[in-house]
C-alpha cells in the first residue's frame, strides 16, 4: 500500500527529533548532521530503527539541510542517496514503514527581501529531490518553513523532479504568524494551490500552543493536517536548550487533536523515541476523521488572502498601460517606482487585489511581468491579478509569484484553455474566465452560461475544481445595444445560482459612448452587485464607484456597524493634514516642503495663464537653489531638503503633463545610472541621491540594489550615461565597487563615476579610481552640474 492510500484511511505517525539524537551519539555542536550519513551511517540508521520500534509509521531522512545552498561545497546528491538508503535499510529491518525525504530551509532569504533568486532556491532543492526519489523515498516532507516563498520553491522542485506525495509544514509563532509575515490562511491558499498532499505545522511551538492554532487550520484547509510540535517551548539552562513536555503529556495533547480531525502527527525538536512510543500508543487506534473540502474561491499574497463570495472584492485596474501615456512611458523607460506608486495609491484607496498588466508592443513582457510582480511584492501585501495575453509571460509571472495569484484570463476558446489550465494546475491560482469562445461573445445569457459550463468541464478534466474559476460575463455598451446590460446581469445571476460560481466584471464598458459615464457605471455596478456579483475591476480613485460599493455593503449588512463606510467618509470630510495655504506662492511652498500647497500654487499659476516653463524658471528653480544652499550651510536638515525635493517633484509631474499638452518639453540634462553595488542591500543613500538628481533635471536610470558590475556597465553603455553613481555601505562590498569602476573604465571611458556610502572616505574613493566622492546628496548634484557646465 502506498503512502497516499495509507493517508486516506488512517492516522499516520512520524518520528521525532533527529539532531538531539545524533548529538547524544556524539555529533559535535556546529557540525553538519547530514555529513554523518556518509561518516557515521550506523549512528543514523540506529536513530531510524529506534523510532520505528517506538511505533513511527514514517521515518524522516537525515537531510534537513541537504540543499545546494546550505550544504554548498558538499556532495549533496551523495549525502541524500546515503540518507535515504539508511532509512530504507532501517525500514526493511523493521519490516514496515515509509521513508520521507526531508527538506528544510536554505538558511537564506529570497529576493526581494533577501538576495537569493527564486530560481536558485528551486535549483538548490532539485538535486536532493532527484537523488532522494531515485534512492527510494516514499514521500517528500518540506518542513520548518518560515517563509512561504521558500516553501513554494521547494514544492516546485519536488513537483518537477519526482512524482512523490508532498507534505509541507510551516513554522508559526504564538500569534499565528510566520517570521516573514505570512499567516495560516496565506499558507493554506498557496500550498493547496500548488497541489500538495498534506499541510501543517512543526517546530517553533509546543503541543499546547499548536493546539490553539489547530482549529483555524482545520477550518481553512481541504487537505489532511499534519502537526509535529516541539516538546514544549525551548528553555535555556546552563547554555543548553531544554524542552520540558514529557512523552505522556505530549501524546495526550496530540490524541486530543486527532479526535478533532488531525490526520498526521509526530514530533520535532526535543522529542525522543519515548515521545513517539507514547504518541503511537495514544493515537494509533483512533479513527481517522474525514477531511472536509471547503470549496473556497480565493487568492492570496505572502501575507493576505482575499475570499470571493462574501463582501464584494474591489480589484484595482490602474496598472494597465491601455490609454495611460504616463504609465506607458514609465514601462518603456524602466521607471518601476512609478508602477509601485500606482500600487500603493490603489491600496490606500481600498483596492483588495491589484491587476498587473504591462503589455506594450515594445517591451519584453515575459521578462518585465515577473520582474514587476516581484517588485510589487516588495511594497504591497495585496494579492495580484496577473493580466496578460502572453502565455509565456503568464507562466513566468505565476511561477515567481509569492502566493496564489488571480489570473486574467482564460476564455471558452480551446486554445486559451489549453494554454492556461496547465499553468493553473502547475502553479496554483484562480482564473478569471470570460464567457466567450471562438464564435465571440454570445448575445444571450443562456449561451454565455453554456460557455461557462464548458469552461468548468474542461477545467475539471485538468483536475481544476470550479471554485478555481471566477466568471466574467462581459459588460457591453448599452449605447450600441439596449439589452446589453440586462443580458450581463442575467448571466451574473445564473452563473451564481445555477453554476454556484463567483463572478467579476469590468463595469465601465457598459457606458462607452455615453456622457457622464460614471452615473451609468455606478448604477450598473449596484445592479450587478444585487444580482450576485462577487468582484469588480475598477479605478479605486473613482469616488462614485467606491462610494456605491461602500454604500452597498452598509445597506446589505456586509459592513458591521457601517464602520468601513463611516471610516471612508470621515477621511473625505476631515481636513487633510497639510491644508494648502491659500495664496502661498510656489517658491515658498517648495522651500517649506509643502507638497499640496506647492501643487495648488502651480495649478493656480497655470490657471492664471502662466506657461509651465515660466513656473519652472521663475518659481521652482530659484526655490530649489535656495533650498540647496540652505542645506549646504546647515540651515536645513536632510529630511527638510527631501520634503522640498518631493514638493518640487510633484510640481514637475503636474507641469510635465501640462507641457505634453502644449507640445513643449524642457531640455533634459544628462543621464545618470544609479545603483548600490553587488552584495549591498542597503539603498537609502542611493534613493536620496536619485530624488535630488531628478529634481535638478537629470534623467535617472535606477538599477536598484545588489547590482553586478556587468549589469551596471551594460546599463551605462546602453543609455550612454554621462554619470554613474555607486553606493556601498560595508567594507565587504567596497571590493565590488572597485570592480565596477574598473569595468566602467574599460567599457565606458566617457562616464564620470560618483561614489558614496558609509564606509567610504574621499581618499579611499580616489584610490579606487572614482571621479568624485559624494559626502552627501547635494554634493553629487553640484558635481554633476559642474561637469555639465564645463562641457
Amino acid at each position: 500500500m502506498n503512502i497516499r492510500e495509507e493517508l486516506a484511511r488512517r492516522v499516520l505517525i512520524f518520528d521525532g527529533g533527529m539532531g538531539t539524537m545524533l548529538q547524544a551519539a556524539g555529533l559535535p555542536a556546529g557540525y553538519e548532521p547530514e555529513l554523518w550519513n556518509l561518516e557515521r551511517p550506523d549512528a543514523v540508521r540506529a536513530v531510524h530503527a529506534q523510532y520505528l520500534t517506538a511505533g513511527a509509521d514514517i521515518v524522516t531522512t537525515n537531510t534537513f539541510g541537504a540543499n545546494a545552498v546550505k550544504l554548498a561545497g558538499h556532495p549533496v546528491e551523495e549525502i541524500v542517496t546515503a540518507a535515504v538508503t539508511l532509512a530504507r535499510e532501517a525500514v526493511a529491518e523493521h519490516g514496515k514503514g515509509f521513508v520521507a525525504l526531508d527538506l528544510g530551509p536554505t538558511g537564506r532569504l529570497l529576493r526581494p527581501m533577501g538576495d537569493l533568486p527564486f530560481e536558485e532556491a528551486v535549483a538548490a532543492y532539485a538535486p536532493a529531490v532527484r537523488a532522494g526519489a531515485a534512492a527510494g523515498a516514499d514521500l517528500v516532507l518540506i518542513e520548518t518553513m518560515s517563509d512561504l516563498y521558500e516553501a513554494k520553491a521547494a514544492v516546485l522542485a519536488a513537483k518537477e523532479n519526482c512524482g512523490l506525495p508532498i507534505f509541507v509544514s510551516v513554522v508559526l509563532d504564538q500569534t499565528g504568524r510566520m517570521l516573514t509575515g505570512g499567516d495560516l490562511s496565506s499558507a493554506v491558499a498557496l500550498l493547496e494551490g500548488l497541489g500538495v498532499d498534506a499541510i501543517g505545522l512543526n517546530c517553533g511551538l509546543g503541543p499546547q500552543q499548536m493546539a490553539t492554532l489547530f482549529p483555524e487550520l482545520l477550518r481553512l484547509t481541504s487537505l489532511p493536517v499534519l502537526i509535529q510540535p516541539n516538546a514544549g517551548l525551548p528553555e535555556c539552562v546552563d547554555g543548553c536548550t531544554h524542552f520540558r513536555v514529557g512523552p505522556e503529556e505530549f501524546a495526550a495533547a496530540m490524541a486530543e487533536l486527532v479526535r478533532s480531525g488531525l490526520r498526521v502527527t509526530g514530533g520535532c525538536c526535543g522529542t525522543t523515541p519515548e515521545h513517539i512510543r507514547a504518541l503511537s500508543a495514544a493515537c494509533r487506534d483512533l479513527p481517522a476523521l474525514p477531511v472536509a473540502p471547503k470549496h473556497r474561491t480565493w487568492v492570496s499574497s505572502y501575507a493576505r488572502t482575499v475570499v470571493f463570495g462574501g463582501k464584494p472584492v474591489l480589484i484595482g485596474e490602474r496598472i494597465n498601460p491601455t490609454g495611460k501615456p504616463r504609465l506607458k512611458e514609465a514601462l518603456r523607460s524602466g521607471d518601476m517606482d512609478y508602477v509601485l506608486r500606482l500600487a500603493i495609491e490603489q491600496q490606500e484607496k481600498g483596492a483588495q487585489v491589484l491587476d498587473v498588466n504591462v503589455g506594450l508592443p515594445e517591451v519584453d513582457e515575459p521578462a518585465l511581468l515577473p520582474r514587476t510582480v516581484e517588485e510589487l511584492q516588495a511594497v504591497t501585501d495585496l494579492p495580484l491579478q496577473i493580466d496578460t495575453n502572453h502565455p509565456e509571460a503568464m507562466a513566468a509571472a505565476m511561477r515567481c509569484y509569492n502566493g496564489r495569484p488571480l489570473v486574467n484570463s482564460v476564455s471558452g476558446k480551446a486554445e486559451s484553455m489549453a494554454a492556461v489550465f496547465p499553468l493553473l494546475k502547475r502553479y496554483g491560482g484562480t482564473a478569471i474566465a470570460l464567457t466567450l469562445d471562438e464564435n465571440g461573445i454570445p448575445a444571450t445569457a443562456g449561451e454565455r452560461v453554456a460557455i461557462a459550463q464548458k469552461i468548468i468541464d474542461t477545467a475539471a478534466s485538468y483536475g481544476i475544481p470550479k471554485e478555481g474559476l471566477i466568471f466574467d460575463p462581459l459588460a457591453l455598451t448599452i449605447s450600441a445595444d439596449q439589452s446589453a446590460a440586462a443580458v450581463t446581469l442575467e448571466t451574473v445571476d445564473r452563473i451564481t445560482r445555477e453554476l454556484g460560481c463567483r463572478t467579476s466584471l469590468g463595469v465601465s464598458n457598459v457606458s462607452f459612448g455615453l456622457p457622464r459615464r460614471e452615473a451609468v457605471n455606478s448604477a450598473f455596478f449596484l445592479l450587478a452587485l444585487e444580482h450576485g456579483l462577487s468582484a469588480a475591476i475598477l479605478n479605486p480613485n473613482s469616488a462614485p464607484m467606491t462610494d456605491a460599493l461602500r454604500a452597498y455593503c452598509a445597506l446589505k449588512g456586509l459592513d458591521p456597524n457601517c464602520q468601513d463606510y463611516i471610516a471612508a467618509m470621515a477621511g473625505e470630510t476631515a481636513p487633510a493634514p497639510a491644508v494648502p495655504a491659500a495664496g502661498m506662492d510656489l517658491g515658498t511652498a517648495v522651500e517649506r516642503g509643502l507638497k499640496e500647497s506647492a501643487v495648488a500654487a502651480a495649478k493656480a499659476g497655470l490657471d492664471g495663464g502662466n506657461a509651465p516653463m515660466e513656473l519652472i524658471d521663475d518659481g521652482l528653480i530659484p526655490a530649489l537653489d535656495r533650498v540647496g544652499a540652505a542645506f549646504e550651510t546647515g540651515k536645513l536638515y536632510l529630511p527638510q531638503l527631501l520634503m522640498s525635493a518631493e514638493a518640487a517633484k510633484a510640481v514637475f509631474e503636474l507641469l510635465r503633463g501640462a507641457m505634453t499638452r502644449e507640445g513643449e518639453r524642457p531640455a533634459a540634462k544628462a543621464k545618470v545610472v544609479l545603483s548600490t553595488v553587488k552584495g549591498d542591500v542597503h539603498d537609502i543613500g542611493k534613493n536620496i541621491v536619485k530624488v535630488l538628481l531628478e529634481n535638478y533635471g537629470y534623467q535617472v536610470v535606477d538599477l536598484g540594489k545588489d547590482v553586478s558590475p556587468q549589469a551596471v556597465t551594460e546599463a551605462v553603455v546602453r543609455e550612454h550615461a554621462a554619470f554613474c553613481g555607486l553606493s556601498a555601505l560595508m567594507t565587504t562590498t567596497v571590493g565590488a565597487m572597485e570592480e565596477t569602476i574598473a569595468l566602467l573604465r574599460q567599457e565606458a571611458p566617457w562616464c564620470k563615476v560618483m561614489v558614496g556610502g558609509a564606509v567610504l572616505t574621499e581618499d579611499y574613493a580616489r584610490r579606487m579610481g572614482a571621479d568624485f566622492y559624494g559626502k552627501d546628496a547635494m554634493s553629487d548634484v553640484r558635481y554633476a552640474d559642474g561637469v555639465t557646465e564645463a562641457g
Partner: protein, 215 residues
C-alpha cells in the same frame, strides 16, 4: 517593549547640529513615522551562552575560531560569552521599501527611527541578560559585532547558525554577509567577573571622518 530613543534618532538625522530649525512639519513627520514604525516592527531576539577561550588575538567559541585582536581585547578575562542576534523583522524592511518609493523623506526618518529602535531593543535584551547573570557575580560586556574593527564579517554565518537565527527569528545573511532583514544586529557579548569597559562604539571604530562620530 523597547521604544525609539528619539535623542539618537534625531542624531542620526543630523538634527542635533546647530544652524537649522526643526519646524512643525518636520516634528509631525517624526511623530507619524515613529508611530508607523511602532505599529510595524516586530522585534525578536535570540541568544545562547557559550564558553570562550581568548588567546593571542584569537577567540574560540561555539566551534568558531575568530582571528580578531579587537575582539580578543574586548573579551579579555571572559570565560563565557552570549552570542546574540536581534531583528526588527521583514515587515520593517517592507515599510522602508514602500516609503522609499512614495516619500523618500519619510524613508530617511524611518531609517533613523528603526536604527534607534533596534539599538534600544538590543539594550533592553542585554539589560535583561545582565540581571540574569548578576547573581552569578558576572557582568556583561558591550556588544561586539562581526564586521566591527578586525572581527571578520564572514563570521556572520556561523554565528547565525550557532543561534539557529534563521529558524528562530527569521534572520539570515546574504552572500556578501549582509543581514536580512536589514534592520538587524548580531553580536558577541562577553561575560566576566569584573566590570570592565573596553573602548567601544566610536572609539573602537577606524572611520575617523564619519559624520556621526562621537567625541
Amino acid at each position: 517593549m523597547a521604544e525609539i530613543d528619539w535623542k539618537e534618532a534625531r542624531r542620526y538625522l543630523g538634527l542635533h547640529r546647530p544652524g537649522g530649525t526643526v519646524d512643525e512639519q518636520l516634528e509631525e513627520s517624526l511623530r507619524s513615522c515613529g508611530a508607523e514604525l511602532d505599529a510595524t516592527a516586530r522585534p525578536r531576539a535570540v541568544w545562547r551562552r557559550f564558553s570562550v577561550t581568548v588567546e593571542d588575538g584569537t577567540v574560540t567559541c561555539a566551534g568558531m575560531v575568530i582571528p580578531s585582536a579587537y575582539l580578543a581585547r574586548h573579551l579579555k578575562n571572559c570565560g563565557e560569552v552570549y552570542l546574540f542576534a536581534a531583528t526588527l523583522g521583514a515587515e520593517t524592511d517592507r515599510l522602508l521599501r514602500r516609503s522609499a518609493v512614495t516619500q523618500v523623506s519619510r524613508a530617511v526618518i524611518l531609517q533613523a527611527c528603526a536604527a534607534s529602535l533596534l539599538e534600544a531593543y538590543c539594550d533592553e535584551c542585554c539589560d535583561g541578560l545582565a540581571r540574569e547573570v548578576a547573581p552569578e557575580g558576572l557582568f556583561l560586556r558591550p556588544r561586539f559585532s562581526p564586521g566591527y574593527g578586525d572581527f571578520p564579517i564572514d563570521f556572520q554565518r556561523p554565528l547565525l547558525e550557532a543561534l539557529e537565527a534563521s529558524k528562530r527569528i527569521g534572520l539570515t545573511a546574504t552572500e556578501a554577509m549582509m543581514l536580512t532583514p536589514t534592520k538587524s544586529v548580531t553580536a558577541v557579548v562577553g561575560l566576566s567577573s569584573t566590570p570592565w569597559c573596553p573602548p567601544t562604539g566610536c572609539a573602537a571604530c577606524g572611520k575617523t571622518d564619519c559624520a556621526f562620530r562621537k567625541g
